[in-house]
Amino acid sequence: MNAPFPDAFSKYRTVFAMSVQRELTYRASFLMDRARSVTILIAFYAFWSAIFQDRADFAGYTRAQMFTYVLGMNVLNALVFSDKTWEMIYEINTGKISSYLIRPISYIGACVSRDAADKLTQMLSAVIEVALAWWLLRVPLYAPRDPWTYAAFAAAALLAVVLYFLMSYAVSSLAFWTAESGGPRFCFELFLAFASGGFFPLDVLPGLIRRTFESLPFASLLFFPLNVFLERLGPGDLARGFAVQVFWIVCSGFLVRALWRRGLRAYGSEGG
């Protein structure tokens, strides 16, 4: 007989709790990682302060909107891009994934729990950093006027989290076929940081490139949710943005499923 609903998820809650414990074990790594984010934050602040020194808006963004974009990007980066699917590459290459495969637990479920733990710790830190930046630097922030904007932003951010997880899981699955999947994974992350609007709003790019990125899954990860928050999208753009997110989630979901099934057949269970 199947375990009742709450019991079926207790294993994933335990993986989550253990992952948080583990995150807290490596305090130095965690702090260094956050130091990197703070450095990027300061660099962006300096850059956009210089741009807005003698103008009131840039590429359609007011000063408050641009600084909200930069600070929001820091928080959303922590929420969307914090993940542990790098571990998947290591676990496949070394055979460590076997310890999950021989137990009645879903590996993808365990990955979601580990990711959630990483996101929680990274997010808490990012929120504190942004609060400090706002307080110390007196950064002007944009507050949405329509209360529904918060709900739409939450939905867009959640879909971005799901989409990024599936995409990174699919890329990490390449480790089933090659021991060199770390390289593609690194390029994937670097390209995403750029194409998702993680360096600057995509509005500054030429129209064709921007539209291409908006149709592909990349802009759905940061640029779209932040623009939802900044209330820069009309109803049509909003609907289109959500449709793009859902479309790529469905595609990535099918891809992950196919790669996982084929990957298990190709898995060599190296070592041991």
């Binding site: 375990a3 019991d7 207790s10 294993k11 809650r13 335990t14 993986v15 253990m18 414990q21 583990r22 074990t25 490596y26 055979g95 460590k96 076997s98 310890s99 495969l101 021989i102 137990r103 009645p104 637990i105 298990l264 057949r265 898995y267 060599g268 269970s269 070592g271 041991g272």
Partner: protein
């Protein structure tokens, strides 16, 4: 009903063909050639419920590959395998809940956290009721002397300590089938003995089916009545340990201690001299002549100490492999089967096995 059954099990691997050196690496980068290596060839055996079977073979013989197919980690290239009536590679929850595997170098313990945390995780994974879990956990901690260790991060444990914690973790849900890959690896002699006793007690108490691989012949001698010997991916022998000892060790070892110096001429009529060092000597004497030889030695020589011993099992197994190597595995396998007596065949029929 059999707990484990395989029929014509084969597993092929694609391995890169690379010449040595930097140029070899460049060439391989460009052509990416691979060749097929057959790791397991046509292996068929049955293991009944509650059996404890030793799986022996040199490194690279195909033991771990077979174990991985039994656990569902690897898909067979051809052939069939069922464990508890299920096809392992389907990874059905009903199968995964009733089976467990301890791999010598693969840990399910979380490296950075104390083993106790992984114990709790396994409680949730296998849905073990709280009180039952506490009882089993405390029992296994006491039996394996883990009291001091379970609250230390796993990375701080020695290999042997980790192996004990690993075994404890793997049996908390009381699996019906347990696959053990080198369970005493890295343990000191005292702990090896304790672990063996623990495995034996556990198996008797739960009637769990256990298949273990080990290079430690003490494990095999103390735990297994039945052994399967594999070399070069082929099953060479499947039967009782006693029979393989009798077939491959026609002699017994007679160890002598004398009051005066012994001469080779005094000993050679009774058997082959293995060692002679003043007043002590070792002789290999054919089994059927042991009692006669011992009687004569005691009456004619100034013996103060005498012991008759079996040849160490590792020597015997080495002889099996050497024979396999000298005549080709397949031939050796068939040769081995031909050497078995009627009783052995009956035993094999009982196991419903079919080695080609």
């Amino acid at each position: 009903m059999n707990a484990i059954q395989t029929r014509g099990l084969c597993k092929d691997y694609q391995v890169p063909v690379k010449r040595p050196g930097l140029m070899g690496a460049f060439r391989h980068f460009l052509d990416g050639r691979t060749r097929t290596v057959r790791a397991v060839r046509d292996v068929s055996f049955d293991i009944g419920k509650g059996e404890l079977v030793g799986f022996l073979g040199p490194n690279g013989a195909g033991k771990t590959t077979t174990l991985k197919m039994l656990s569902g980690l690897l898909y067979p290239t051809s052939g069939e395998v069922t464990v508890l009536g299920r096809v392992p590679s389907k990874r059905e929850n009903d199968f995964l809940r009733r089976f467990s595997m301890v791999m010598g170098q693969r840990t399910q313990l979380w490296w950075d956290l104390p083993a106790r945390e992984t114990f709790t995780l396994n409680q949730k994974i296998y849905s073990i009721p709280e009180r039952e879990f506490a009882r089993r956990r405390d029992e296994v901690i006491a039996l394996l002397e883990l009291e001091e260790l379970v609250d230390r991060p796993v990375k701080k444990l020695s290999l042997g300590e980790r192996m004990k914690a690993e075994l404890a973790c793997a049996i908390l849900h009381e699996p019906e089938v347990l696959l053990l890959d080198e369970p005493t690896l890295g343990l000191d002699i005292v702990m090896q003995e304790k672990l063996r006793r623990f495995i034996l007690d556990y198996q008797r108490r739960t009637q769990c089916t256990i298949l273990l691989t080990s290079h430690n012949m003490d494990d095999v001698e103390e735990l297994c009545q039945r052994v399967m010997v594999i070399n070069d991916g082929q099953l060479l022998y499947d039967g009782s340990l006693e029979k393989i000892v009798r077939s491959y060790a026609p002699d017994k070892l007679v160890v002598l201690g004398a009051a005066r110096k012994l001469e080779a001429g005094q000993l050679s009529p009774y058997g082959e001299i293995v060692s002679l060092d003043g007043t002590s000597a070792k002789l290999l004497v054919p089994r059927q002549k042991v009692s006669q030889a011992v009687g004569e030695i005691l009456s004619r020589l100034p013996i103060v100490d005498l012991a008759v011993e079996e040849m160490p099992v590792d020597h015997i197994i080495r002889k099996v492999f050497l024979k396999a190597a000298s005549s080709g595995s397949g031939a050796a396998g068939r040769g081995l089967l031909e050497e078995e007596d009627g009783e052995e065949r009956k035993e094999k029929d009982l196991h419903e096995r079919s080695v080609p």
